[in-house]
Amino acid sequence: MEHAFFIVMGIAIPLYLSAIVIYAIRAIRGPTVPDIILAVDCISFDIAAFMAVLAIYFKSVFLIGAPIILALWAYLLDMYVAKLLVSKEEER
């Protein structure tokens, strides 16, 4: 079963890594601010899932606390930026 798990890892990890790199390219090219923030969001949730997968890969129970924190925190940046954009619009 451990062997089967490592085969699954061998397929899944390149998929996740390429997805993260493509999201990063979108963040570099993104013409407006919401595009960049959307890419940050996607990268954060993606990495949260990736961390949970890696916790099984390293066989360590202590690593599983990190994805909870990252998933809870990832949408904060959206709210700050939205507040800034909305309030700028109000003042005008």
């Binding site: 390293f58 066989k59 129970v61 202590f62």
Partner: protein, 130 residues
Amino acid sequence: MSLFELFLWSFVVLALVATVLISLYGIAKRPNLVKKLIALTILGDTANLFVILFGYRLIYPVAPPVLAQWSESGVKELLRKAVDPLPQALVITAIVIGMAVNIFIAFLIIQAHRLYRSVDTREIAKYGGE
């Protein structure tokens, strides 16, 4: 250790060195004070990552330095694969204290903006600071 692993390890170390150099450029050369703050934070994070990198061991079954359940064989197992705990203990305080100092710098920037109506160092220099 194979050549590819050595290459990747050297790449990691050199990329961190390059990040330190870029952030030093940002601190020294960019005129905006907020940009200087961003560069300062990147410098601090990279330095912390360096300190952690010194305590790492490049082996596959590697574990954080925490014991799940005490037993004689479990401790031996942990000593075989755990990373160095000392740099981690040093870096945790460094992160939180660095954040507090950053907040202090941010308040200073706001105060400068109140006094001079600008956060550009070239503009502020016109007011006769030595």
